[in-house]
């Protein structure tokens, strides 16, 4: 059913803004949530899109850092990030009422299948963040969220209200021991999942495994991919992934791709 999953073209409304921090809070573990007041961006953004944030001090680090949007409320957008390196450490120091310089909304976003049921969201590590918003968009429909990580400390356990969440950890320190794909296989094996659709975000090996499972069970699947990004807006051609034999740009043509169109066997 690839035809049903035609990706919408990236919307042209993008902005370069300096937005006020209206909330910035720890979410447990390495995670923090930042809420920015950016009315134009909020008006045009959709789940699965990302923003490209200037996390530098004195031009260090030199590149901006991309983060998926995790929600919208009125004039504000929010994102959830893990503090892992110089950029995110700088970001963690931003205080309320300070300004954050970012580009967005960028990329295409998820496209929820109109009739599929249940909708299965699979988030590996910080790859779970876009699903916080997608869950809101899917309100009223049957949704399962499978969220996994290597260990409990890398899980984001601030799942939104009302969602059916299954946690997995590689080491069994929280939730089920094993990979998200073990849980996904079980879910897809159930007769009630014949009309399911799968949406996944996480490291490439996980996405590949999810894509193969979706193909095996014959259900549509979209994946939000990750690549190193310099410009974030289609200017440098750095964030290439091979899709149907040609290099496409994760920042401009993605980050969401139809899983069966990605050339998974290409090195990356």
């Amino acid at each position: 059913m690839p035809g049903e999953l035609a990706m919408p073209a990236a919307p042209p409304q993008r902005y370069h803004v300096r937005a006020r921090v209206v909330a910035h809070e720890p979410l447990g573990g390495k995670y923090r949530r930042m809420v920015l007041e950016a009315p134009q961006v909020a008006a045009h953004a959709r789940p699965g899109q990302f923003i490209h944030v200037d996390c530098s001090q004195g031009w260090v680090p030199f590149w901006r850092r991309p983060f998926s949007l995790s929600g919208r409320s009125g004039d504000c957008i929010s994102f959830i990030y893990a503090v892992v390196g110089p950029g995110t450490r700088n970001l963690a120091k931003r205080r309320l009422a300070e300004e954050v310089d970012f580009l967005g909304p960028l990329g295409n976003g998820f496209h929820l299948h109109p009739t599929a049921s249940p909708l299965i969201f699979v988030g590996g590590g910080y790859g779970v963040t876009p699903f916080f918003w997608l869950l809101e968009q899917a309100a009223g429909r049957a949704v399962h969220l499978i969220h996994g990580a290597r260990s409990a400390s890398e899980l984001l356990r601030a799942a939104p209200n009302g969602a059916q969440v299954m946690y997995t950890t590689d080491d069994g320190s929280y939730g089920e021991r094993g990979l998200v794909t073990d849980a996904l296989r079980r879910r897809l094996s159930s007769p009630s999942a014949r009309q399911a659709a799968v949406y996944a975000c996480g490291p490439r090996p996980m996405l590949r495994a999810v894509a193969l499972l979706a193909r095996e069970f014959g259900v549509p699947c979209q994946v939000a991919m990750e690549e190193l990004m310099a410009c974030g807006v289609g200017g440098c051609f750095g964030c290439a992934v091979k899709v149907r034999g040609a290099y496409r740009l994760v920042c401009r043509d993605g980050p969401v791709f139809a899983a069966d169109e990605v050339d998974w066997d290409e090195p990356a």
Binding site: D54, F62, W63, R64, C231, G234, P267, A268
Partner: protein, 346 residues
């Protein structure tokens, strides 16, 4: 990078929401008209700030984020006769004060450029310069000829300096005879002003610069990226799939300024200086060293409005210095002072 520290406190002008205006110091005197115009051979630019090739796509990338009409020109992404797949990922690496890239000139090919990209560019009030590539001299010439009589193109920039393609690319740019041959072939085939882009990956850039001048080039672009490499020590693998790539950004600026200075003393044709320009002060270094114009590349990835900030800052500087023409600053490097102090020390 101490001169950039001021930007961290979010001085106005970093985001287009509040663009900085040069020369806005309160003054009752009407400011004298500033002539920012630049003549590059047969190519007239309204001001000296361009975008560097490969960093703004075909001009569509930042068009909605900044006003391209304010710039002197856009140097577009490298294009071949045929579409190019580009190199496998990973293609980019962040490095101290810069980055490596090995894009491999992924591009749509000239026919798709003319059909899909150029029409929108014709609506812009800025010079449009196409970066052309080939794997043989004949390919360069054929591409140049194909671009004759095309409305909306103002000049060609001949890329004999890409370090990231297997055939063609840099091999033309490191050999004076090959460099001259390509230049002559393109100049013969083309009706447009021909700019030739030089590589820094040579022992003496002036030898190549003179060969290209003799070949008939209208202007030179100096410099392309420096061949470079970065390794992941955990996996002991190169961070780029192509192993080596090209270094750009502030890290290469002092090398670029030096090469512009050397080139300016060796040739009579004008130079477009580039390599790590992020601010007006950076750009002024190039102009003082002898560049007639400048291009902003990698800095746009960090700050899309960097080219505009550079332009505003150049304007403000000229006013501060009481100058009325950009060309008064070009090549105005003052070296006498150092010599006399040194002599006094003796």
């Amino acid at each position: 990078m101490s001169q950039h520290d001021a930007t961290t406190d979010r001085a106005p002008g970093r985001a287009p929401a509040a663009p900085a205006k040069g020369g806005s110091a309160p003054s009752l005197e009407p400011s004298p008209a500033l002539d920012l115009g630049v003549q590059l051979g047969g190519l007239r630019l309204k001001n000296p700030v361009l975008t560097a090739s490969g960093t703004c796509g075909y001009g569509e990338v930042y068009g909605d984020l900044i006003d391209y009409n304010r710039l002197g020109g856009l140097m577009l992404k490298g294009t071949y006769l045929e579409p190019k797949l580009g190199n496998p990922p990973p293609r980019i690496v962040e490095t101290p004060a810069g980055m490596l890239n090995s894009i491999g000139l992924q591009g749509v090919g000239v026919e798709a450029f003319l059909r899909d990209k150029l029409p929108a560019l014709r609506r812009l009030d800025t010079a449009i310069i196409l970066n052309i590539n080939g794997s043989t001299v004949d390919e360069f010439a054929e591409l140049a000829a194909r671009l004759n009589g095309v409305a909306g193109l103002h000049a060609l920039e001949v890329n004999i300096s890409c370090p990231n393609v297997k055939v063609g690319g840099m091999e033309f740019g490191v050999d004076p005879r090959a460099a001259r041959e390509v230049t002559e072939a393109v100049c013969r085939a083309s009706e447009l002003p021909v700019i030739v882009k030089l590589t820094p990956n040579v022992t003496d850039i002036t030898v190549i610069a003179r060969a290209v001048e003799d070949g008939g080039a209208a202007a030179l672009s100096v410099i392309n990226t420096l061949r470079a490499m970065s390794i992941d020590v955990r996996t002991r693998r190169p961070k780029l799939a192509s192993i080596t790539g090209g270094l750009s950004g502030p890290a290469i600026r002092p090398v670029a300024v030096r090469m512009v200075w050397e080139t300016a003393r060796a040739v009579r044709i004008p130079i477009i200086g580039m390599g790590g320009i992020t601010t007006a002060e950076d750009a002024l270094e190039f102009l003082i060293a002898g560049a007639g114009a400048v291009a902003v590349g990698t800095a746009s990835f960090h700050n899309p409005s960097a080219p505009l900030a550079v332009l505003d800052g150049i304007e403000a500087y000229l006013r501060e210095q009481g100058m009325t023409r950009l060309r008064d600053i070009v090549g105005s490097l003052e070296t006498a002072l150092y010599r006399s102090t040194k002599m006094e020390e003796k």
